[in-house]
Amino acid sequence: MASICFYFQVHQPLRLRHYTVFDKDNHYFDDYKNAFICRKVANKCYLPANRLLLDLIRRLDGRFKVAYSLTGVLLEQLQLYAPEVMSTFDALAETGCVEFLAETYYHSLSFLYSRDEFLEQVNKHTETIASLFGQKPRVFRNTELIYNNDLARLIESMGQFDAIISEGADHILGYRSPNFVYRPQNCSKLKLLLKNYALSDDIAFRFSNRAWSEWPLTAEKFARWISNVNGNGYVVNLFMDYETLGEHQWKDTGIFDFMGRLPYEILKHPDNNFKTPSEIVACYEPVGTVDVPHLISWADTERDLSAWLGNAMQSNAIYELYRLEKKIKTASDDKILTDWRRLQTSDHFYYMCTKYFADGDVHKYFNPYGSPYDSYINFMNVLDNLHNRCSGGAAGAVSRELSQSKNQHDLQTVN
């Protein structure tokens, strides 16, 4: 039998406004653009997709199930700019067929730079989900499915999670299939769910590609592929961005019709069913351990961190950001802390990626900046201002690090 596990990642970053070295105020984010994009995506994706899935759950009498990971930065924006989306998520939560996963509240790379900060963000996220949807997440997924053995250990030691999710990358699995439950290396209780990237990407990336030999992808065809798994695994993890539905794959590609048909086609086969990640974990025991000493992610063909940390600007920006942690936390000013955390969202570093600059492909689509250089300059200007705030300096004292540090000393002695 094959259990199908759908998990959708739902996230929108808080984009920075154009911020020059001459700007002195503490307002860093582009409220207009963020509201505009949030409402646009709500109308194209979140609302119609939520309605469709809710409808499927009701029509199939609870035999269709899905999981979501909603980031904290997204939830804040939905509450502000598209509250009607929140009520459809509420309705989904009430069906009992929807599971919400845990992640870092700010969709950050904090695991790589600060364990303390990472744990605080995970706790903040699980508390938010519990208070909004009445369920405490039992399964963890890290930003961009970034994963290694250490992360699994850390998550197990938190004591509140049954499983962790990652990418079923070929180079970690070798001949093995992602269609089983595994155990992370060095863990005794935690289970590992791996994305079936081939089948997931058929929907997420290839669905509307006319150059693809399997185009057009019908629900019948896809259900057949799923049923082929029978005998060679018992779970198919279909993990993707929620924006696949209506935003990455537009409505006129037929993606909603596909999703509307798919559960029926899959359930035609008596051995198939839908399960949430927690149900999978409860149902199946690990068939082996998976050893991931080096960091992996679900991004690009490399499945590594190069999309966020691939060049000198990216490493520098994120290093400088986390270097402020102590200062930020001793300043004990909520506004400053929130601003600092909002700067941790991984998208800010993704915008600085020069890897695919040449081809202008998928990276460009998500990038509000004309070039990775512009995004780095903007980010560093903001960070400089934030730095001054938590140093107790006047917000206007810019570039002091570079030129005379005389000012800085003066200000510090005043403190």
Binding site: T20, M313, S315, S403
Partner: protein, 434 residues
Amino acid sequence: MGDVMRVFMLGWEFPPFISGGLGTACYGLTKAMDQLGIKVTFVLPALIRSEYVTHVKLLTPASMMSAGRLMKFGELKNVTFHAINSLLQPYSTPDVYQRQIEETLRLKQQNRGAAVSFVGGVDYSRDMAAEVRRYAAVAVELARNEVFDVVHAHDWMTYPAGIAVAAMSKKPLIVHVHSTEFDRSGEHVNQMIYDVERQGMHAAAKVIAVSYFTRSIIIGRYGVSGEKVEVVHNGVERSSNGGWSLDETGIKKDEKIVLFLGRITMQKGPEYFLAAAKKVLEVMDNVKFVMAGSGDMMHRAVEMAAGLGIGHKVLFTGFLRGEDVQKIYKMADLFVMPSVSEPFGIVPLEALDNDVPVIISKQSGVSEVLRHALKVDFWDVNEIANKIVAVLKYAPLKMTLRSYGNFEVRRLSWKDSAAKCLRIYEEALAAAYC
């Protein structure tokens, strides 16, 4: 027409006498054509002095015609040169020409009886328009003795010559637009020059624009049909400079250098450079701004720097050549080109080739081919200053721009440009004979 393409090229200055991008482009393109095996007859205006030429007496009235065959230029096997004695110079204007001709005549009168420094007793025309026509007539006489398949003319002063040679030889004309009167003069165009440009573009079988930016001006302002306007971006000549040594510059290590290099004219936006410098100095102290070049706005720029109270932070070097250019690149932390209207702009490529990161205006053709450059609107002084500060302040930014930019420049070769020109010649010929 044989296998080998033969071009009658009406071009401009060659090393070591290069005053700007037009000469650099003509040289780079011709050199690459030579390597592709294209036969080029290169005709250029020059004040011919006897030490540089071996004379070729043309069978024409000496009072009107005079041309010299320059000695072979170094390594170029497939190129022959002809200099036509003329006062025409790149970037010249009717006013400048007027001053020049008066100066020349005065000199001549002084030297009467002494050794004549010019070849042949040339009578230069009294005004620029007439000189352009005289140049055309000499070019036609010269062309009578040459065998070629196409005529290729660079920028407006050679267009009448191109039209005349094409008409005489019944070969297709290709005009190559490196800049237009709108770039050089903004909205205050000289009607005579505009007319000459327009005539040349309309008479041509194909028009080559150095960028899409220029192509749209050619179509929009000169009414040329889009089908015949092709874009051939410029390349860059890789310099073989050695290592990086700061000692020889005599500049303090902690002092940053921001460089403007180019003609100091309206087109290049020197006032935006200075206004941005003023803003940078509001937040940084250890910076110097170097303006290398000369031009008709030089004095205004000096006054403006003083007026802004940043005179002590701005250095004017005057026009730089060869080794001095290399030296200034070695000193510079950043190159800024805030051009108001720049058909292409080769200098940023040279800067990157010399490991200097660049800020270029979006109103430039070169921004079409460069990704690893910071781009700004020329009028956005705040943003120019913002980016200057960022490059000086954040080493990783400078490093990334420099290494990726340098790598990117390696892909822009004159050979590709020459190959594109060859394809355009072939199309023009195919159209002419079908």
